[in-house]
């Protein structure tokens, strides 16, 4: 018994507080399993000719870096300071007021002070001061500067992959300093040394080669969609077979491959298929899917600006090859940040496309006149507003819904009302979560920016706590049993989160709700929803 530690001793061991108003620079890095993702597979890195592809282990002392790695980082940082005003400004003007410090879901959930946004940025700023500012060079640590050491590099890697680039902190910053921007560029620097994670590198490699993150080959992609078509036919009696790679179609539709391969995104995918079939039958709208541009998501965004551009190029290229008029994009978060804020600049101008006009309603999507790509929620909201869809919301009566604003559509785009409008028109029971957890204040699912792997489950669960906590509240207060979202990563990540935190809610894509409510021309009376569960009001009949 006597050699067991006493309670007090346990605490003293745990005491990694900065002593006497201490210094975060003195807190040693402690890389813990569950908080990081496995490192990139060298083969995936080689597909994109990424530098320093090798097998390495973050728990080992030696990270197998090139000899001149410090020089590479220094030059890389210098180059980016010259190319990005954002970086330069954000390095210089932070006054450390602390307004952002408690806004990060990873800080709130993990309790690790280095997850305070200001500190995450200081990890990079300290090196910037040392290398590029006079004060940093003269006063060194007193001026908050520190040289680039292996410890610092490890800290960068550990914490830049504990940021989901959600931008929640940035809206509280009096100067708009955006930690996402710092993380994006920080990861870009890490990639110069081959320090990526596999959950990002392999999807990127797959996407480059086969058109989507999963590496689903063209025939398999078609197989999967045909499988959904069969399911829909079983439920509705209607064959909704889509077009593939069809030249001369009106519209190209691109959605994250997550919708094609992972539940519950697959049901959202069925919703898209039904919607487009409905529009084809009723109004003759011709939509095509592509196996080449079969990925809306872009994990290149989590690697570097260049990689993002290389993957994104397929969208316009395919639209041009097929000769469509414009593009509709499916429900996805970071995909839409890329489309909304980067695509036209990187791979435009898309002069081969027409400014989007909904031929059914006559609505000109003026907000997408240049990029020529419309969000499916905008498209569907417009159709509903003009009464062009035949809907039976009572088929969603068993659902008591709330809506999770995904980070990128809310803070990188401003898409807040469309999904809510669609939900309210296809379902009856909808309740918003508390105001400080939705819309521009929304909390991340905890798994964004390529962190939705399995091995970092603790990080994901801790980071998703604020979101889950609000959903649980809705469950207790309004019996909410379903969390709607417009993001493929959400659909992949939130079910685990809801399950661990025991919120009593499942996860659904907005267009699955549309698919349930949409009355297809010539459909038989449905007995189940898209998930094969009895429709509300049907359970009793089944029992009898």
């Amino acid at each position: 018994m006597s050699d067991l530690p006493k309670n007090d001793e346990l605490f003293s061991k745990l005491d990694h507080r900065p002593s006497g108003g201490g210094d975060w620079m003195d807190t040693p890095i402690d890389i813990r399993p569950g908080m990081y993702c496995y490192t990139a597979n060298p083969k995936s890195m080689e597909t994109l000719s990424a530098p320093n592809a090798r097998k390495w282990n973050p728990m080992e002392e030696d990270w197998l870096l090139p000899d001149n790695w410090q020089e590479i980082i220094h030059e890389g940082l210098k180059d980016r300071l010259e190319r990005f005003r954002s970086l330069k400004i954000f390095m210089d003007i932070c006054v450390r007021c602390g307004a952002c410090s408690d806004k990060c879901h990873y800080f709130i959930g993990t309790g690790d002070p280095k997850n305070m946004p200001v500190l995450r940025a200081e990890l990079l700023r300290s090196v910037y001061r040392n290398d590029f500012t006079t004060a940093g060079k003269i006063f060194g640590r007193v001026a908050g500067a520190r040289p680039m050491t292996l410890e610092v590099l490890k800290e960068w890697w550990y914490y830049f992959f504990q940021c989901s680039e959600c931008r929640r902190c940035s809206i509280f910053c009096p100067y708009g300093i955006d930690t996402a921007e710092i993380t994006i560029l920080g990861r870009e620097l890490l990639n110069l040394l081959g320090l990526n994670i596999d959950w990002i590198a392999t999807p990127v490699s797959n996407c480059y080669q086969t058109g989507n993150h999963l590496g689903i080959q063209p025939h398999a992609f078609k197989d999967m969609l045909e499988f959904f078509v069969e399911d829909i036919e079983d439920i509705t009696g209607v064959n909704v077979m889509p077009n593939f790679n069809k030249k001369g179609a009106d519209i190209l539709f691109i959605t994250p491959s997550g919708d094609v391969f992972a539940d519950p995104g697959t049901y959202t995918c069925m919703g898209y298929l039904m919607l487009f079939h409905f529009l084809k039958e009723k109004y003759g709208l011709d939509v095509t899917w592509s196996t080449y541009a079969s990925e809306g998501g872009n994990f290149g965004f989590f690697t570097s600006h260049e990689t993002m551009k290389r993957l994104n190029a397929k969208m316009y290229a395919e639209a041009k090859r097929l000769g469509v008029k414009w593009i509709i994009g499916g429900e996805c978060g970071h995909m839409w940040r890329v489309i909304h804020q980067y695509m036209d600049t990187m791979n435009g101008p898309a002069d081969h496309l027409e400014a989007p006009v909904n031929p059914i309603t006559g609505t000109k999507f003026e907000n997408a006149a240049s990029t020529k790509m419309v969000h499916i929620a905008e498209f569907t909201a417009d159709l509903i507003k003009h009464g062009k869809l035949d809907l039976d919301p009572s088929r969603n009566d068993n659902l008591r819904l709330t809506f999770h604003d995904s980070c990128n559509p809310s803070r990188g785009m401003g898409l807040l009302e469309e999904p809510r409008y669609v939900i309210r028109n296809v379902a009856k029971h909808f309740y918003d979560m508390p105001a400080n957890t939705i819309r521009e204040n929304t909390f991340c699912c905890g798994s964004g920016s390529g962190l939705n792997a399995g091995e970092d489950m603790e990080l994901r669960m801790a980071g998703g706590l604020p979101r889950a906590n609000a959903v649980k509240h809705m469950n207790q207060k309004y019996d909410v049993n379903m969390l709607a979202c417009v993001c493929a990563i959400d659909r992949a990540a939130l079910p685990d989160l809801m399950s661990y935190w025991d919120t009593g809610a499942d996860v659904i894509g907005v267009h699955e709700l549309v698919g349930n409510a949409l009355i297809l021309p010539g459909e038989k009376e449905r007995e189940t929803d898209l998930r094969g569960e009895d429709l509300p009001g049907r359970e009793e009949e089944a029992d009898e």
């Binding site: 005003r85 009096p174 080959q217 080449y292």
Partner: protein, 336 residues
Amino acid sequence: MNGKYLYPFLAVCLLALIAWVGSDVFGLRLLFGVILPYAAVVVFFVGFVKRMLDWARSPVPFRIPSTAGQAKTLDWLPQNKIDSPFTTAGVVARMFLEVVTFRSLFRNTKMKINPDGRIAYDLEVFLWLAALAFHYTFLVVLLRHARFFLDPLPLPFEILETIDTFVQIGQPTISLSSFVLLAAVLYLFIRRLYIANVRYISLASDYFPLFLIIGIVLSGILMRYFFKVDVATAKEITYGLTTFQLPALAKLKEVGAIFYIHMFFVSVLLAYFPWSKLMHLGGIFLSPTRNLANNNRAVRHVNPWNYPVKVHTYEEYEDDFREKMIEAGLPVDKKE
């Protein structure tokens, strides 16, 4: 004690000592009263412009506003014209509110209701209030000093001064702004010291300007209310500086060391300004997440260094998968 605030504190004490010893003991009044202020003003302007140009020179490759409200999309959906501005006017409004009311900082300070029903404000509301008080009183104090540089004093300055001194307790009249400024800057300092997470992130370069400004305000208050330096003489010196008429050495001797300490502090602040975080004064106007319109898909943004990248073309893709595509009944461009 901790180096992060000890060193800056000692540095400011040392500055005061230098000014006192320099002006009083060594009689270097010309240096502290004329040469250094001129030099500081030059450093300030040159430095400020240089920093702004340096920032402005670096390109904005992407339009990345952070949106905090509904974007302009469909006509019938209410757009948040300020937090998700589509037009330049919207951006101007957003920036104006940001700069003038510290709107984002205010976002922090929502009132909260405790489980027991009591309404609670967390400390953040004081950050916003103190920041506002600090910046505005600093501005008032600055404008009030116009009387040392302008003759005759334009009317708006007169009015400002009348408002600022409406509380009259004996002579000289009390300028409220100085005391509010002192209180605000002290709060900002104490906050850094006592709120654990703010202390954790604070650097010496966060404490130094605070101490320096405390020094400026204290020396100013001492000069006016305690040492009662002759205002007319002081004005003769400062007015001389603005009109490039060097004050006579005899005049320089009439004002005490406290005047030189005050002047030296101000000179140091001016010279330090462009190389420090205080440049947020200029930087806020250039912040790409705030000063750009959320009209990304409507108006193409051009990246000056956009360069072609290697992509995996459709042709290469079809070459990789042609047989499988044909077998699956997918259309192909080249049928071999």
